[in-house]
Amino acid sequence: MIDRRRADVRAGVALLAPAVLVLGALAAWPGVWVLWLSLQQRIPIFGIDRFIGLAHYRFLAGDARFWNAVRVTIVFSTVSVALELALGVAVALALQRLTRGRRLAVTLLLLPWALPSVVVGRAFEWLYHPSAGLVNFVLGGRAVNWLGEPALALPALIAADVWRTMPFVALLCYARVLGIPGEVYEAARVDGAGRLATVRAITLPLLRRVLLIALLFRTLDALRAFDLMFVLTGGGPASTTETLTVYAYRSLFQTLQLGFGGAIGVVVFALVMLVAWAYLRTMERPETTA
């Protein structure tokens, strides 16, 4: 038996080692290296490469552009995710009562989610066009410059993001709702519960776990989002849509400050880990595990 176990350990290590090594080289190591990089001033075009300790972080602490990016990132993430969750649940509930055309419904739903985000960016760019865009036409022939107006650009960006990602939430909730046995609803009806009472007393509590998971997935994705704002607004106008990721990208590859951009990347990473940690803490509490 011991021989068998030893052989199993050896087989397990042999089967897993290639994947772990590759992951170590492609994910873990860059993750550690970026920490080191963020402690250096590294601007290749000027041949600058020196250790400066925490100077980048100290600079960020007093950098108005950085705090603006933090604010934009947080507003974008919270508003997008809140809208996606609310709309996603509503769509899942509508789908739940669908008797025919389920496949068509899932196709329509998955389409926005499966498209490249650059395609979505370019599609919304056209929809928001000041003179020829569909949005202005539907609003009665206005000439609103959705992406050029500082007050409107972030909401317009959020709308595009919600369009793209709400289906993911809806699909998760729909899959969960389909797993609820029909007898549960039968019993509720026999007890005289109305439609709304049933949703509140049965469906929503059963959706709680999947909603928490969707909340985590979507929040992490929103904090990391880059493609859509980069293509749609490029961070403008007047930095009103410049998230941390866009600021980091600009620093890394437009002004080629690998160390400084790395430091902003580290902040994004810390933010993501903070959210994941807070989430795990919440999930561990007994009353939310049901």
Partner: protein, 271 residues
């Protein structure tokens, strides 16, 4: 039951309304330039394939489609070749430090690309891989492999262990069990994971934008983001290019929906 039919139609209509931005882009791709700015009639002039002709004959889109396809397929293959045996080991074998490894894999799926793009850029340039497929396959593997490992570990755990024990009693070694018994049972899971990873790689933008420089390796999202306009933005051409860029995702959503949905929901609905 007619009430139900009306409700079904209403729900489907609302979903179709949600998908309008996509349909609008499809319509735009077929409109002649002169009709593009005339919004009121849906189709002011007879549809034309002129924009598609421009995109296919006079843009880098054909090369970009080929690059995207190659990179996405290779990334999927690499992630599966490494991920399938790894997931089996994680699910079934007594690997030391398994809990920590699983936690690390989950952490890898949460890694922001913007955090690692700088170091990866420096490393790929040092290796002389800038503007090659290899650079993109390596970079994309960094997010594809954790997804494959995570999804497949769950799928393997769902396979009843008795099948394996029976095969082991018949004298098959671990590798024999994996190849002859587990792998066939894993196929649906592998298909789901492959589709998901292919889509992620097909859609990926930040790495492709950073590590490519010419049409030798530029992928579809990059070509679309950089789509050139001389005096005016060529909205019709961009729409046509967008439709071509959307083809694989559309095919997957329509034809392979069942597997895609399984992959999507498996990670979240487990336990």
């Amino acid at each position: 039951m007619t009430g139900g039919r009306w409700r079904d139609a209403a729900v489907l209509a609302l979903l179709a309304l949600w998908a309008v931005p996509f349909f609008w882009q499809a319509l735009t791709s077929l409109k002649p330039d002169a009709a593009l700015r005339a919004v009121p009639p849906l189709m002011a002039a007879p549809p034309t394939l002129a924009h598609y002709r421009v995109v296919v004959e006079r843009s880098v889109m054909p090369e970009a489609l080929w690059n995207s396809f190659g990179v996405a397929v290779l990334t999927t293959v690499v992630a599966l070749v490494l991920g399938v045996p790894g997931a089996y080991a994680l699910a079934r074998l007594p690997v030391p430090g398994k809990r920590a490894l699983l936690l690390g894999i989950v952490a890898c799926t949460a890694f922001p690309q913007i955090t690692t793009v700088g170091p990866l850029f420096t490393a790929l340039r040092a290796l002389g891989l800038r503007d090659t497929w290899a650079a993109l396959v390596l970079a994309d593997t960094s997010f594809a492999l954790p997804v494959v490992l995570w999804l497949l570990t769950g799928f393997v755990r769902e396979i009843p262990i008795d099948v394996e024990e029976a095969a082991a009693l018949d004298g098959a070694g671990r590798l024999g069990v994996l190849a002859r018994v587990v792998l066939p049972l894993m196929t649906p899971g592998v298909v789901s994971a492959a589709l998901l990873v292919f889509l992620m790689s097909w859609n990926e933008f930040l790495f492709a934008f950073t590590f490519t420089a010419t049409e030798a390796s530029r992928t579809v999202p990059v070509a679309l983001a950089l789509f050139p306009g001389v005096f005016e933005v060529p909205w019709g051409d961009i729409a046509a290019a967008s439709m071509l860029a959307s083809l694989p995702p559309i095919v997957i959503v329509i034809v392979l929906q069942r597997w895609l949905v399984r992959g999507l929901t498996a990670g979240a609905l487990r336990e």
